[in-house]
Amino acid sequence: MWVWFSKLGSPKWFYELSGKWLPWLIAAMVIFMTIGLVWGLLFLPPDYQQGFTSRILIVHVAVAGTSLAFFPLMFVAGTITLVWRMKLADMVAKNAAILGAWFSFITLATGSLWGSVMWGTWWEWTDSRLVSMLFQLFLLLGVISLRSALEDSDTAAKACALLSIVGCINVVIIKYSVEWWNTLHQVSSPVTTDASSPNGPEFWIATLIMIVAVYLFLSVSLILSTRNEILERERRSQWVQDLVLKS
């Protein structure tokens, strides 16, 4: 177990292993993404209530679901950074913050696109999921800006790790408190549960495929950006220089 764990911490080992996995992951991602997008966006029968807008929802739900994974991921990476001082965890955390911000942003964008059709407004404060996603985006931007402000990379790694742990706890509290806040302000809300969940098993299957596709996309982009990070940070080490000479 410990051998495995310390091996995992070695950037070189990760670089080699991820290089082997990457083609398979990319292939799986392309397959799921194609099925999800082509079937979901072009062939899925329109929902009887929402019409064709339910197709946006497939992408939105998949991206939103994935967005929720970022803070837990950064929590784990942060703990590993602080406790075991594993550099690889920090490289993952750094890219997870940036990717997470993009995912949160896309969630908000697709959500408001869907809202503009369904609710007739681009932004709706009474939808607690959108509001808490907005604050998750803010917290992630806080982590990113803390990292860019700190010059020393070791300090930045530990500081961001700590902030991610605090942020993860906070994001959970925010989520529940915003939900609560919302139930008390539902007076004139256009958001109803009927309108936000289209029926039909096809819809859920398409969403499921899309969720898998987006998770694969997340893994691939995280691995790719971490590999870049490894090359940059380990540029002085022998194995990276050998690698560069070979190619």
């Binding site: 931007l141 803390l146 402000a149 700590l162």
Partner: protein, 229 residues
């Protein structure tokens, strides 16, 4: 070499006393956030509406948001001068648990920056036409909420203490974290206005305060160690 080591509580009180002493010698650090709070609150009626009906509606939110901003601005003093003159290193090298020393600093900071704001709140609530029956809830919610702000803000300040210019990054980190406090603080006041009991919200804030008191100083201590590294 047989002199007695201090107890942790002696170190705690020494730190608390020292920070209060510094605060009273540097009065600007106390007065400015306080003035800021009063000025910001005074701007709202001018920017929104002088009608007392509309002011009543926004009073709790305006006071709460101004409190958050003022407490965030005052946070910057918490560790900066200690970092610059090296006292922070001495603090970190104390044999006593850092948890209590950081807690002492947070308590002193709240006493000089949070408490005055809470005490002046009824006056501003009056100016914003908040009905009298809500004063009690407002003060109670502020009494519970401002220490949470100090404790949470302390983590962010500790993380950014080594940075040259950190005013804005502090805001970016702390303000989103204060959302739950803002929600429960304003909901408590609203529910009093709707003649409901605010006890539920206040007890939730009490829970949040006790969790913050027991966990946040640990995070602050870890953050200070990281920043001084």
């Amino acid at each position: 070499m047989t002199e007695k080591q201090t107890t942790t509580s002696a170190a705690f009180w020494a730190t608390l006393k020292r920070d209060l002493l510094i605060a009273f010698k540097k009065k600007n650090d106390i007065v400015n956030p306080f003035m800021f709070f009063i000025i910001v609150v005074s701007l709202f009626p001018i920017g929104i509406s002088p009608e007392s009906d509309r002011l009543t509606e926004i009073a709790a939110g305006v006071i709460w948001i101004s409190v958050l901003l003022a407490s965030m601005l005052s946070m910057d003093n918490l560790y900066r001068s200690d970092f610059e003159d090296g006292s922070l290193e001495q603090l970190l090298l104390s044999p006593h648990p850092l948890f209590f020393l950081v807690l002492a600093k947070n308590i002193s900071h709240w006493l000089v920056s949070g408490l005055p704001v809470v005490l002046v709140a009824p006056l501003l609530a009056y100016m914003l036409a908040l009905p009298e029956e809500a004063y009690g809830t407002l003060i109670l919610s502020l009494l519970l909420g401002t220490p949470i702000m100090s404790l949470l803000g302390s983590i962010a300040v500790a993380l950014t203490v080594g940075l040259g210019s950190r005013g804005l990054i502090l805001a970016v980190i702390t303000l989103p974290m204060s959302v739950p406090i803002l929600i429960f603080g304003t909901l408590a006041v609203q529910s009093t206005l709707n003649s409901q009991s605010p006890a539920g919200y206040l007890s939730l804030m009490l829970v949040m305060l006790s969790v913050s008191v027991s966990l946040a100083p640990l995070a602050s201590a870890a953050a200070l160690k990281i920043s001084v590294n």
